[in-house]
Symmetry: C2
C-alpha cells in the first residue's frame, strides 16, 4: 500500500545520507539571519535540529541553534566542511557565489534550491531575461554598462527610471531611481553591474509565495499586499485587500509555474507590481521571505516548515489561513541603540494579549529589521491597527496613534 | 501613562539582572526533556534563547538549544553554576530536591515556581494534606508506612485501593493498584514512602491547565479530557466533550484558586477525576504539561510561551482556542528500536497534510513518549480519528483502522 506513485514528474537523484537524532536527515542552512532562526524554530517540531553556517556566533540563528558552524559563505573550504555534516543544504540568503554552488554540486552535495534555479534570484539580469523568454510580464528592462546605454533606454521609457545592481541588493540597497543622465552617471561611477528598468506606475505591491518540492509538488499561500517604506518591507496584509479573485489566481498560477520552470526547491516568493495593465514580476526570492512571516500564526503550515518539507521532499502541509485577516508588521530598530525591550514587551503584552511577537536577537540599529509582530482576526482595520501599534511601540516606546484606513 | 497599577497583589521581589541578546532576561530551565525542547522553541519568538541544564548532550532539548550545560539536577554545585548564568530559573520536571531549591533561594536565585509552591508537586503527601486543608475535594487518602496501616485504611475505602510513591513518580510509575494485604506487602517491601488512596470510581479524567505570574495574574485554557493507557497519557481532547459548563468553570476556578493559594509561578496543570459526585483533584504539575501540548496550534498562546511569560512576569497571552476541537495524541515508541521515521513522516504528510507533528529527538523505546501529533477542526470524530491514525502510524508504520466514537 506504500508503493511509489506510477508517475513522477522528475527523476529522483539520490542524496547522501547524513542522519541525526531519530534517524532523521540533517538539514543545514547557509546564513545565520532571522530566516535561519525561524527555520530552526520550525525544524524542532519535525524532530530536526537545523545546522547553521553563520558569519559570527552572535548571528540571529547562531544564538538559538545547537549545530552552529562559523565560517564564510564565500569560502569554498568553509562551505565544503559545513556540507559534509548535512544531508541537504539550503540558504537564508542569495549571496553564495554561483561558482561555489556549482562546485558543491559537483562534489555531490544536495543543495536546494540548486544553482541553476538560484541564479535567477541572484542576478536580476538573468532573471529578467528568463522571465521575458517565458512570456511572463516584467517591467521594460535592459542591461546597461554606460551612461550612454541608460540615455538610450530612457528614450524608450522616459525619465525617471530605475537602476538596479544586478547582484547583491536587498532591502532597498542596490536600487536607485534616477531622474537624469547626471544622476545616472553617479550610479554608474560606483562600478557595479547594472540593469535599467522602467519606473512602473504601480497601484501597489503584492507577493505570491509558493513552495515546490523535488518531486514537483507545489503549494501556494494566499496572495498578500506588501507595503514598503524606503525600500524596506514594513507591513504585509493577507489576503491582499480587494484583490479580484482572477488576479489572485493569476498571481498564484504564475508563481507556481515559475517555481516549476526554474525547478525551484523550497519557498519561492514572487514580488509583483499591481498596475492598471495587470501584474508585473518585480523580484524573486528562493527562500523563506519577509512577505510570508505572517504564515507562522496565520496559516496551518508556516513558510519555514514548508521550506523544510520542500528540501526534504516531504509532501506539503495545509496552507489554509487561520483567520480572515492576518497582518504582519516589521519591527525596525529605532534611534535608541539600547532600548529597554524587556519593559516594552511587558507593557505591550499588557495592552494587546493577542498580538504575537517575534524578536530576532539582533543588535538594534536604526531601520534594521529586529523583529516582527502579527495580528489576526475578522476585522481588517482592527487587525492592521494592532499590528502597526505593536511594531511602532517596540520600535520607539511610544504608543502610536494609528489612523484607521 | 505607563505608571504601575495602583494595586499589586503581592510585593515584588527584585531579581538579579542577567541579560542576553537585545538586553532581554536570560531564562534557564533545569531538565533537558521535551518540555524544555518545546519551551526553547517558544523562547525563540520572544527574542530569548533558553539555557538548559541537561543530563546529557543527547537530551531532547540539548539537541536544539544553544546554551546547554550538562550537569546533575541533584548537585547543588551544578545547579549553582547554572543559575549564575540565568536571571530566572525554571524547571521541566519536579525532581530537584527541595533542600537544593531552598539553598538556591537562599543564594538569591530567582526560581519559578519557588520551593514553597513546588513541594506540592513533588510530594503527594504534602499536596493531599494541603488540598484537604483548603477544602478542595480529593480522594480519601492517608500516608502509610506498613501493611497494617494499609489494612486499616482498607477498612474505610475497601479493596482494591491505590498506593502511590510520595515522590518521584511519573507516567504511571510509582502507582500501584493493590487488591489485598499480600499485594500491598510487595509494594511496601520496595521501601519507598507511600500514600494510600481510595480507588475512585471515575467517569473519566480531565485536566484544568492555568498559568499564574508573580504579579498574580492568572490565565486558563479550556478544560480538557485526558485519556490514559497504562498510566501514560495517550490522548487529550480540547475542550472535554460534553462537559457541562458549570463543571468546566468550576474546574478552571479551582485551578486558578490553587495557583494563587500555592503561589505557583508558571503553568499549573491540575489533573482531575470526574465522578458522579463531582470533581476530585488527582495530581498537580507546576510546569508545561502533556495535557496542554495541544495549545501549540490549538490556542493563540501556547503553554510554553505562557510559562515563559509567567516566569518573566509578563502579562499573559490570549488563550482563545483556534478551532472548535483540538485533539493531541502522543506518539509512543513502538517495538522497532530503529524505525524509518523519515519514510513514515513522508507517507504521513502525504496522507494528512493538515496534521501537525512534533518529534522530540529521543531514542525510540517501547512505550516511551517520542513525540505527539495535533489535529484540529470543526468535527470531533474526524479530528480524533486523524490524531489517532497519525500517532499510530508514526509508532508502528501501519495505517490503523480507527473506530469512530
Amino acid at each position: 500500500m506504500d508503493a511509489p506513485p506510477a508517475v513522477a514528474t522528475r527523476e529522483v537523484v539520490p542524496r547522501p545520507v547524513v542522519r541525526g537524532a531519530m534517524g532523521l536527515p540533517v538539514v543545514g542552512m547557509v546564513g545565520g539571519g532571522q530566516l535561519s532562526r525561524m527555520t530552526h524554530q520550525a525544524s524542532i517540531a519535525l524532530g530536526l535540529s537545523l545546522r547553521v553556517l553563520a558569519d559570527a556566533t552572535h548571528d540571529s540563528a547562531a544564538l538559538v541553534a545547537q549545530g552552529v558552524s562559523v565560517g564564510e559563505h564565500t569560502s569554498l573550504e568553509d562551505l565544503r566542511a559545513f556540507a559534509r555534516g548535512c544531508e541537504v543544504v539550503t540558504f537564508d540568503h542569495e549571496h553564495v557565489p554561483e561558482g561555489l554552488l556549482e562546485a558543491l554540486e559537483a562534489d555531490g552535495v544536495t543543495i536546494h534550491p540548486g544553482s541553476a534555479a538560484l541564479r535567477h534570484a541572484q542576478d536580476k539580469g538573468v532573471m529578467r531575461e528568463r522571465l521575458a523568454a517565458l512570456g511572463i510580464p516584467v517591467p521594460a528592462f535592459t542591461p546597461v554598462a554606460t551612461v550612454r546605454d541608460i540615455e538610450g533606454f530612457a528614450q524608450h521609457v522616459g525619465w525617471p527610471l530605475v537602476l538596479k545592481a544586478a547582484t547583491g541588493g536587498y532591502d532597498g540597497r542596490g536600487v536607485w531611481v534616477v531622474g537624469s543622465a547626471a544622476e545616472a552617471a553617479e550610479v554608474v561611477a560606483a562600478g557595479v553591474r547594472l540593469v535599467a528598468e522602467e519606473l512602473v506606475p504601480l497601484q501597489r505591491e503584492l507577493a505570491a509565495v509558493v513552495a515546490r518540492s523535488p518531486y514537483g509538488q507545489g503549494a501556494a499561500w494566499p496572495v498578500v499586499e506588501t507595503v514598503q517604506s524606503d525600500g524596506i518591507c514594513v507591513e504585509v496584509v493577507s489576503p491582499a485587500p480587494g484583490l479580484p479573485e482572477d488576479l489572485a489566481l493569476q498571481a498564484q498560477a504564475l508563481a507556481l509555474r515559475l517555481a516549476d520552470e526554474l525547478a525551484v526547491v523550497g519557498v519561492l516568493a514572487v514580488e509583483l507590481f499591481q498596475t492598471e495593465a495587470g501584474l508585473l514580476v518585480n523580484e524573486l526570492a528562493m527562500r523563506p521571505h519577509n512577505s510570508a512571516h505572517w504564515t507562522i500564526e496565520g496559516s496551518r503550515t508556516s513558510q519555514f516548515e514548508q521550506h523544510l518539507r520542500a528540501v526534504l521532499d516531504y509532501p506539503f502541509g495545509d496552507t489554509t489561513a487561520t483567520a480572515p485577516w492576518v497582518v504582519m508588521a516589521n519591527v525596525l530598530g529605532g534611534e535608541d541603540p539600547d532600548p529597554d525591550l524587556d519593559r516594552r514587551l511587558h507593557l505591550l503584552f499588557g495592552r494587546d494579549p493577542a498580538l504575537k511577537v517575534h524578536l530576532y536577537g539582533k543588535q538594534v540599529r536604526p531601520g534594521r529589521k529586529i523583529g516582527h509582530v502579527t495580528a489576526l482576526g475578522p476585522d481588517l482595520r482592527d487587525v492592521r491597527a494592532r499590528a502597526r501599534r505593536g511594531a511602532g511601540y517596540l520600535r520607539d516606546g511610544h504608543w502610536p496613534e494609528v489612523e484607521q484606513q
